[in-house]
């Protein structure tokens, strides 16, 4: 059963097609990655899927229901959680509070009108306190997934964490929503190889537990290792799709990344690198 279905998605900016007629789907329990060289349209595609931007044409359905009419804050409610490219945590909030925000969409507190919510926050009756306690327990379980990285720091403010830990907090926040689809935007950007390895193992763990994941990532070795399927974009179009080893050897993909080799240019003869005056008597 297909969970996320993208049909003929197109987004043009002033006549330039940033995403051009792209279709693919992500099925239950699958990990699908989108890759492509700079300017291929990945970020635009991700913005469309997360509701930050609206397509010029095409459809995005989740469980047979269109996502296009949803406001950004309604995605969490239908079961879609995301992380951001450079990690957006709430700096002055504790790690625990950061993760608890993740449960917002499924918690009871805001489920009725704003005035009821205000009164309940003031009164803090038994039901409210019990829900809060249960969520805290759950948040600790999720933090424990990262071993000793976050759990001992749960009352620290997030701005003081290392970069890698902040990205972990972000993932914990996304998981706290109990999503049915997880959108990861370059989860290892800016990480060193050891940290990258750890995140890779973490995502692999999520995958084994049946999480459905759509991943945008530049580190292709990681993509190749994690994905069930890879979608390759170039100049806004989908140029290839398939299992990692298939895509990796697809000549179209190689050309998109490395440029064309077809008509070799004639090298013009140039004088050997010579010493130049400091004035730069060029032009």
């Amino acid at each position: 059963m297909a969970q996320l279905e993208i049909h003929n998605l197109t987004r043009s900016f002033d006549g330039v097609l940033a995403v051009d007629d792209v279709s693919f789907d992500v099925r239950d329990g699958e990990t699908v990655s989108v890759i492509g060289p700079n300017g291929a349209g990945k970020t635009t595609l991700f913005n469309l899927v997360t509701g930050v931007d609206a397509p010029t044409q095409g459809r995005i359905d989740f469980d047979g229901r269109s996502l296009l009419k949803l406001a950004p804050q309604e995605y969490a409610g239908v079961g879609i959680a995301r992380t951001f490219q450079h990690g957006r945590v709430f700096g002055n909030l504790s790690v625990m509070d950061n993760v608890l925000i993740g449960a917002y969409a499924r918690s009871q507190a805001p489920s009725r009108g704003p005035l009821v919510e205000l009164v309940r926050a003031l009164v803090q009756g038994k039901a409210v306190r019990e829900e809060e306690r249960a969520l805290r327990r759950e948040a600790e379980e999720i933090l424990a997934l990262f071993g000793e990285r976050l759990l001992p720091r749960r009352e620290q403010q997030a701005f003081g964490l290392s970069y890698a830990n902040r990205r972990r907090v972000e993932m914990a926040r996304a998981l706290m929503a109990r999503p049915r689809l997880l959108l990861l935007d370059e989860p290892t950007a800016g990480m060193n190889p050891t940290e990258t390895r750890e995140i890779l193992e973490f995502i692999r763990g999520l995958r084994q537990r049946g999480m459905t994941i759509l991943l945008i990532e530049h580190k292709l070795s990681l993509v190749m290792e994690l994905s069930d399927r890879v979608v390759v974009m170039d100049n806004g179009r989908k140029i290839s799709e398939g299992a990692p080893h298939v895509v990796r050897n697809d000549p179209k993909v190689i050309e998109a990344y490395l440029g064309t080799k077809t008509h070799e240019r004639e090298r013009t003869a140039r004088s050997a690198p010579a010493e130049r005056g400091s004035g730069g008597d060029g032009i």
């Binding site: 930050v52 002055n92 909030l93 509070d97 925000i101």
Partner: protein
């Protein structure tokens, strides 16, 4: 000639003259916005100082007009440069709210310094120009109209030439379009920044001097109105758009002139605020842009600085409350008690502000407007409906909460600095409406004989009684707020402040929580306003001026954003200290301005840190 037509032409000439001056002010703001990506709240102060320099040169020194204008240009140009160099340089790397606060602090300091030098009284600025008017087919034009037209058009011409044909002008345009690329051409963008503030200073100063001449008077508070109007004109033409600002200024001048003719002089300032808010909400990119959105805020840095709040031990807080409660038993000096009563009421406003701005991240400069709504609602309910004080106070507070939220509602789509501008405008508009709605509010005459605070029918009129009453209300408000902050609501507000996009992705609907924050905040500010009204027994449209909003902001920042103990400490420090050192009373606003400037630079997280 038909008299109606003649009046119409007269009004048009008036509108063009004033519009010319607004345009000069707006162009300076546009240049600064374009190059430095900053809304300069101190621009009105530079304008006011221009007016004073002109006045000093003409009436004290007896200089001819051209020399006086040259002096205005030199002084205000230098002031602009100094303002950038000493007030703003380096702040763009700090929290997003920092440059905004710095310009507010500068504006406070400059206004108060002028007031100290020349008193708060308006000074007469006799026009040295010949009094005859030039008759043109039944319509007459005064020499001052001609002067304004000449200065306005020639300045626009010089500016055009400068931007188009000089190297610095090119550098300025290039920097405004693409700062990084300009640097890669070798442009010293810091220098360009400073030059821009200098040019804006010259233009603003000239505008101030012209207005001083036109209305034959100068006074320190002219800065605020000028700043708002310049900004309205700039917004109308598109932020950062120089030709647009000129058109915006002229349009605003004409609207005002026709509006005053149609509705009366007291309506003059209402138009600028209406245009300001209307444009922000409906067409934020201005009249001439195809875009429907505001230019993006500078996104470097966070909204509030990251900091670890100072943990104040519970014992210290309880001890402090105990001391405050026992204070009237130990000290009977009524003056001191009165000052502290004021401190408690302002602390309530600071708490309300630290909730909406500190906790929820919506910079509000409109708290005074909420206070005015609460004060008028409560006063009218007890005066006209005969409600007892307690009921009127609660009702006033609720009315402030509902009305305040509804007024700010259209501004929910705005972010950071624009929220500050919109709420400032809303606060001022509340006062303008109060001044003009004679039937309900008794207009500029204000409300008198408001019954004093009472409890169960017993009047609380002694300094001790009002002291305890206000303190009790403050503690009650603080307890309610504390409860909210410790709930999921507090967490959600703070998440919105830190990163609204990430909060949305977790399912948080922004409008709902902005509305809740403004409602609680406006209710609390309204209660403080209502109590003040009953305590003073007299209020008018100037009792709750925008300076109170800015004062409350300074208190909240001094204490640390979102920090409740900090807000109270800030309120006590800023209210009581100038009184303790009696000599400082006259310099109060100067102290506030300098405190704000120093805080932004050296301790942006405030005394006790952001919570």
């Amino acid at each position: 000639m038909d008299p109606t037509l003649r009046t119409f032409i007269d009004q048009t000439i008036n509108g063009l003259a004033i519009g010319n001056v607004y345009a000069l002010t707006a162009v300076g703001l546009a240049l600064i916005f374009g190059v430095a990506n900053l809304i300069n709240f101190a621009h009105g102060s530079v304008y006011m100082i221009g007016a004073y320099v002109g006045w000093v040169c003409v009436t004290w020194l007896g200089w001819p007009l051209p020399a006086s204008f040259a002096a205005v240009a030199v002084v205000c140009g230098a002031l602009g440069v100094a303002l950038e160099r000493f007030g703003l340089q380096g702040l763009h790397r700090k929290a997003r709210i920092a440059p905004l606060l710095a310009t507010i602090g500068i504006s406070f300091a400059l206004d108060q310094a002028t007031q100290l030098l020349f008193t708060a009284n308006p000074q007469s600025f006799p026009n040295p120009l010949p009094a005859e008017r030039i008759a043109l087919g039944g319509v007459s034009i005064g020499a001052i109209d001609v002067l304004i037209a000449v200065v306005g058009v020639s300045t626009a011409g010089i500016l055009f030439g400068f931007l188009r044909f000089t190297q610095l002008g090119w550098a300025l345009r290039a920097t405004a379009q693409d700062r990084d690329a300009a640097q890669q051409m070798g442009v010293d963008v810091e220098g360009v920044n400073r030059a821009t503030f200098g040019i804006a200073g010259v233009l603003g100063g000239l505008a101030g001097a012209l207005v001083g001449l036109y209305f034959a008077t100068v006074y320190p508070t002219m800065s605020f109105q000028a700043g708002i109007k310049g900004f309205a004109a700039n917004l109308l033409g598109g932020l950062g758009n120089v030709p647009g600002s000129i058109v915006g200024g002229v349009v605003l001048g004409l609207v005002e002139s026709y509006g005053v003719a149609a509705f009366g002089a007291t309506y003059r300032n209402l138009f600028a605020f209406a245009i300001l808010i209307g444009v922000l909400v409906v067409r934020p990119a201005g009249l001439f842009s195809r875009r429907r959105t505001l230019p993006p805020e500078p996104m470097t840095g966070t909204f509030v600085p990251n900091s670890r709040p100072v943990r104040v031990p519970r014992a210290v807080v309880i001890g402090g409350i105990a001391v405050a409660l026992c204070f009237p038993v130990l000290v009977s000096d009524p003056y001191l008690l009165q000052i502290l009563t004021n401190a408690w009421l302002l602390a309530m406003v600071a708490l309300s502000l630290t909730l909406v701005t500190g906790t929820a991240g919506q910079s509000s400069l409109g708290q005074a407007g909420f206070m005015a709504i609460g004060a008028y609602a409560s006063a009218l309910l007890s005066l006209r409906a005969g409600l007892p004080f307690e009921i009127a106070l609660i009702a006033g507070s609720l009315i402030a909460a509902v009305l305040g939220t509804l007024l700010v509602l259209p501004a929910f789509r705005l972010r950071a600095h624009y929220v500050a501008i919109a709420t400032l405008g809303i606060g001022e508009m509340v006062n303008q409406v109060i001044a003009n709605w004679d039937g309900l509010t008794n207009g500029v005459l204000g409300l008198t004989n408001i019954p004093p605070p009472s409890l169960f029918g017993i009047e609380m009129v002694t300094p001790r009684a009002t002291y305890w009453y206000s303190l009790a209300l403050l503690l009650l408000a603080a307890l309610l707020q504390l409860r909210l902050l410790r709930s999921h609501l507090g967490r959600t507000w703070r998440a919105i402040r830190e990163d609204d996009v990430a909060a949305q992705s977790a399912g948080v609907g922004l409008n709902r929580y902005k509305a809740l924050a403004f409602a609680v905040s406006a209710g609390m500010a309204g209660m403080a306003g209502a109590f003040s009204g009953h305590m003073y027994s007299y209020i008018n449209h100037e009792t709750f001026a925008s300076s109170t909003s800015i004062l409350a902001l300074t208190m909240a920042i001094l204490g640390g954003m979102g920090n409740m103990v900090g807000a109270v400490v800030g309120a006590v420090l800023l209210t009581a200290l100038p009184e303790v050192f009696r000599g400082l009373v006259d310099y109060r606003y100067l102290v506030y301005g300098v405190v704000l400037l120093l805080l932004v630079r050296f301790r942006p997280q405030g005394l006790l840190g952001t919570v």
